[in-house]
């Protein structure tokens, strides 16, 4: 399968603090790659560098052969990013928000309309799309944000805690959608604290701790290698906790 995201020795320092060190991994077309690690391990820093928000101190990353620093504008055309605990514009209605985001990605009105129709469907918010986002619950806001992320059918979706704030039923629904989109030709880089979610969703997992990748493999490979029943145990063994 063609590689969508290639990450090589990516590092980020904030003064004397190293937030990410020599991070390397690839994500292929149709693949869901999950980064797992404790708080402050460097997951979000890595994700933000790939999303072109933070500039790496050293190393490189390419999305469909476009360098995230030198060719950031081209990278932004093919990625879609969902930050953790993100909000949305409270004075816009759900529909206005989807239209606003669609207009930023689409090059013509027809395409923008297609994006909005898909976004409305993915959000599952029905009539509530006419309400202002300020009146939405945390779960509803997360759903509209996820719909916004996926409606443009990016080549690479970068999802930071995609199901945070969602109840079990909605989380299940969202996971199904992510998997379905991935199978239709979208690479996914996600981070999550929910090991069950990681096991269900991801094709491969990268365990990150203290800014460094400790292990990479499928859930089955990692469980077998560390003689563990589940990813939680693997995680604890790999990070020596």
């Amino acid at each position: 399968m063609p590689i969508v995201l290639e990450v090589k020795n990516l590092s980020k320092n904030y003064g004397s603090v190293t937030a990410a060190k020599d991070i390397s991994f690839n994500v292929s077309d149709n693949e869901i790659f999950a980064l797992i690690g404790p708080n402050g391990a460097g997951k979000s820093t890595t994700i933000r560098m790939i999303a072109t928000i933070l500039k790496p101190t050293s190393g490189m990353a390419k999305v469909l052969e476009h360098d995230i620093v030198k060719d950031a504008a081209r990278v932004r055309e093919v990625i879609s990013y969902l930050p953790e605990e993100a909000g949305a514009y409270k004075n816009l209605t759900g529909r206005q928000y989807l239209r606003f985001m669609a207009d930023l990605y689409a090059n013509d009105k027809k395409k923008a309309k297609e994006f909005v129709v898909l976004g409305e469907e993915l959000s599952g918010l029905g009539k509530r799309l006419s309400d202002k986002i300020g009146a939405y619950s945390k779960g509803m806001t997360r759903k509209i944000l996820l719909a916004r992320t996926l409606m443009i059918r990016p080549k690479l979706a970068i999802l930071d805690e995609p199901t945070s704030g969602l109840d079990m039923i909605n989380a299940l629904e969202v996971r199904k959608i992510i998997r379905q989109f991935s199978r239709q030709g979208m690479a996914v880089l996600l981070s999550s604290h929910n090991m069950l979610e990681i096991e269900f969703l991801s094709d491969r997992v990268g365990i990150i701790d203290k800014g460094e990748i400790r292990e990479i493999g499928t859930s089955e490979e990692l469980k077998a290698k560390h003689d563990s029943r589940n990813l939680e145990e693997v995680f604890l063994k790999v990070t020596n906790r």
Binding site: R48, L54, A88, Y89, L92, F100, L104
Partner: protein, 424 residues
Amino acid sequence: MSKLFTLIKKELREMITPQVIIPAVVMVLIFMFIGNVVGKETKKFKAPQNIVVLDNDGSTLSGEAVEILKKSNFNVSRLAETTTNEAIRIAKEKNISVVLAIPEGFGEGIEKLKPQKIETYAIMKNFSLQGNQSKAILDASLAAFNNFVSDRIIASQLKGGNPADLKNPIQREDNVIIGDRMAKVNAATIIGFVQSQATFLPIILFIIITLASTIIATAIATEKENKTLETLLTTPVDRRFIIMAKMIGAGTVALIMAGIYIIGFGYYLKGLTGVGAGAGNLGGAAEALGLVITPGGYALLGLTIFSGILCALSIATVIGSFAQDAKGVQGLISPLMIMLLIPYLLLMLIDINSAGPALKYLVYAIPFSYTFLGIQNIFLKNYAMIFFGIGYSLVFFTVFVLIAGKIFSSDKIITLKLNFRRKK
């Protein structure tokens, strides 16, 4: 460009909210209400004033003096052969706040050229500015009284002369010179005319610049706080468009708000003075002195104001980039507010050209000084200062836009943090 319009539309939707518009409209209604109430009261004051005159003298002179009061815009209730207490009781009954008591022998004493006393009684019901009305009535009535009596005495002694000529042997003819123009007008009238315009505009400017700066800094900080900025920065949109859209949005909202305030303030002044804001009735004097703003002058004034607003917006954009959240903006924006307050207050109170060099250079180093001085400079045809001010503000704008562009195009927009709030 369509992406820029998409961003501007979003900014306006986010910035023009009932929470922003309703307080402004309420403020206008309050301005209108106060102006209306004060205006009505002022009109009442200009109407003939009621006064009780207790004439216990009954002489020809006292009778004639009362007639003069009637001709001098007073409604006189004349009482005779009664006590002062009775006169006060009647005044209270008729809701009249002033009583003059002319004692017996008043006319006779004046004829003998001996100074005479008139007792005055001011019935006070409150201590507001309007409560001062009784004093004004007393002063005016006694002035009319004195004038009449002194004219009578002078006329009787002078035989054929005009008492007014004797009292004011020197007649003044005022001239005012501005630049190389001159007009026959009183200097106080001209100062009043210019101040009515030069005071009103800085108030509105102060509101516009403060609002625009706060709106844009808060908009950036809120986007950072909600992480909507992170999302926006990963979209295929030129980051300069993100800054431009915020500036255009904040500028538009500030202009709308300024329009609302101008309407409200105009009604307020109209209520207070009976004329529209900034209006002056000086005949040809203002024109002769060149104190009329030509279309070219308006264009220059507009450019001065516009460059000042742009300058404030660019500084506020950089400030907003440092804020972690909307609450943090309040502390961070104070240096900009100080930069606004210094010229705003100083230029209202003093002539900066006669100030010491340190203060003068400080004021002229602040770009907003030229904005506040705009209308005065246009009246004084000080074009060098106007163009320098516009250029200076645009240099500030360019520098800060470049800084903002640098911040937005790097990861500094996410990593920059300054927070003056106490950590828990």
